[in-house]
Amino acid sequence: MIKRHFDRRSFLKGTAAGLVGLSASGLLTRSAFAADITVGILYVGPRDDFGWNQAHAVAAAALKEVPGVTVVEEENVPETVSVSQSMESMINLDGASLIFATSFGYYKPFVLEMAAKYPDVQFRHAAPLWTDADPKNAGSYFGYLDQAHYVDGIAAGLSTTTNKLGFVAAKPIGTVLRNINSFTLGVKKVNPAATVQVIFTGEWSMPVREAEAANALIDAGCDVLTCHVDGPKVVIETAEGRGIKTCGHNASQAPLAPKGFITGAEYKWSTIYKDYAAKVGAGEALPNFIGGGFDKDFVQSTAYGAGATEAAIAAADTARAEVTAGKPIFVGPISKQDGSALVAAGATLDNYDPALDQTDYLIEGVVAR
């Protein structure tokens, strides 16, 4: 039996479709965009942690300035099923059509599941994880921060007097090891006698142990410290308290160290966020995978602090210009810690060489056994 329905639900659907059509044809547009869009952003920690989450939040704030863009944010979303719940509420209640999932563990399975469930919503995740097998409305964006750590290393190598530099690292995973290696290459380039000593804390955020690690490095004779942990506040403040110099990580820590801050490696997510929002608003397709460093304006160096000498500033500026122009960081000969060759003498590795995404080693010049 076929019965013709004319209920409220289908009426609303039809009207909504008509309105969408009208707005798409330009009759109802109010902004520079073809359509207003709502962007949802999820953070794993607090937005103002002086680190990873803050770097994203700064970009989110820049995105809010763009006319026609509404930003909804949620902090402290653990890497559990709450990721899905938070995304669904952003999509269904706030009408988000673009979701930025900013923590590593959000991708599998949460972003993948949600992307399959909501094919009209675009999902982008901040780590190089997307592959061709994944949904086409999902994707990855990533900034190659090791380029900025290399520039830090150049400035730091010219700032040490003990020829010992310290690196407080969270976990020995690819991106962290790569940052340590690039920092070390920068140091070695300007100061071949120097070594970089690493302490792993084992957690992304563990303030007491980070402070202990910083103190242990300083007691071991290091006079320049940098780090790769989620919130570098404790490391930078501890080093400043003991009167040694620091390089930052993730976001600007310059205000925390008025005396000893040299420079820092910062993300510049706003470049990506603004570009994506504009593309979605204009109805263009988003790329599934983008990554870049200084050349694409995805990373930047923190403005020099009081700890930067003129020689360090000059050398760091030169190095940044060279990397931006595509000059490789990994110039042979470079050996791994076990003595095997990574790059032969005379050879180089491109800054975006896929092999570097698989970094599971530390290079010679790093002290850690």
Binding site: F200, G202, P207, N215, L217, V234, T238
Partner: protein
């Protein structure tokens, strides 16, 4: 670097770490010791510690006086202790369950009010330099102690002496060992336990102030990482003896310094294991000290875990 030099470095770092890290353990364990001596368990001290850290940092930032922050953290801790004490004196209330609820309440409330204080830098507590006699900058650095550390030592001694030699100490111990005996002596058991829990909360709050205002010296949500809970286990290890609490706090501080210290001399293999030393130690202590065949030596008889 020879093995001897490496060994010395690690030993030195552990001693320095013990002095740096032990204070929150000390304050929380003294607070818990007092509460448990009166016959009640307060597992909520982890939440009190975190809330104390947040409130101290906030007050120090707003008023510019870190010492005022310490006092406010203590008072906030006392309020938490008082709430716990009040709820637990109602009939048929399980103090362990209430403690867990208070722990979640304290951390949740601290995260809620603490949002605005993650970013700003508050004035920190000063340190006292006790290393003037040494020319070695490392020794001097290690002996830059916070006044709260010294206050903690004095407090441990006062509690130890007080439990043995004062009428007040006797009342608390009697209440903790046998409520009927205390009643027979004309002691109001509920009031004694309420006060002991509130004062214990005060100590834990002060311990939190040390975390956010001295070492590591800033307010973040991951600040405590279970130190309040470890301190509760530490009281059992210390057999409810305030002086032993001090020793145990030093030991836990040293255990926390072990992982980074070993890596600083280049031993990073198995750092997960060494970093977990304080937690492993807690576990080992619990296993070694608990036996179904005998009750714990020195345990207050009224504690709900021993009854």
């Amino acid at each position: 670097m020879g093995d001897d030099a490496g060994f010395t470095t690690v030993l030195f770092a552990m001693i320095a770490g013990a002095i740096r890290v032990s204070t929150p353990f000390l304050f929380v364990s003294l607070g818990e010791c007092l509460t448990e001596k009166s016959g009640r368990i307060n597992l909520g001290l982890e939440g009190t510690l975190v809330f104390g850290a947040m409130s101290a940092y906030a007050i120090s930032y707003q008023t510019g006086s870190p010492w005022l922050g310490v006092v406010v953290a203590g008072i906030a801790g006392m309020m938490f202790g008082a709430i716990h004490g009040f709820i637990c004196k109602l009939p048929k209330v399980n103090d362990i369950a209430v403690g867990i609820a208070m722990m979640l309440f304290g951390t949740g409330l601290a995260f809620f009010f603490g949002k605005a204080y993650i970013q700003p830098a508050a004035p920190r507590l000063p340190s006292i330099s006790l290393g003037w006699w040494s020319d070695d900058p490392q020794v001097r650095q290690a002996l830059d102690v916070n006044p709260l550390f010294l206050v903690g030592i004095v407090l441990a001694i006062v509690l130890w002496w007080g439990f043995r030699n004062t009428r007040l100490g006797l009342i608390v111990r009697t209440t903790g060992d046998s409520a009927p005996a205390a009643l027979a002596l004309g002691v109001n058991v509920n009031v004694v336990r309420f006060l002991a829990t509130a004062v214990g909360g005060f100590f834990a709050g002060v311990g939190g102030a040390f975390l956010s205002l001295y070492y590591p010296g800033s307010w973040t949500e991951g600040l405590s990482s279970g130190q309040g809970l470890m301190a509760v286990a530490l009281v059992i290890f210390a057999r409810w003896n305030p002086l032993a609490c001090f020793g145990a706090a030093l030991l836990f501080g040293a255990a926390g310094a072990l992982g980074p210290a070993l890596q600083s001399i280049g031993i990073s293999r198995g750092y997960h294991f060494f970093n977990a030393a304080p937690y492993l130690m807690t576990l080992a202590i619990m296993i070694l000290s608990i036996s179904p065949k005998r009750s714990l030596k020195g345990a207050p008889g009224e504690l709900s875990i021993t009854k």
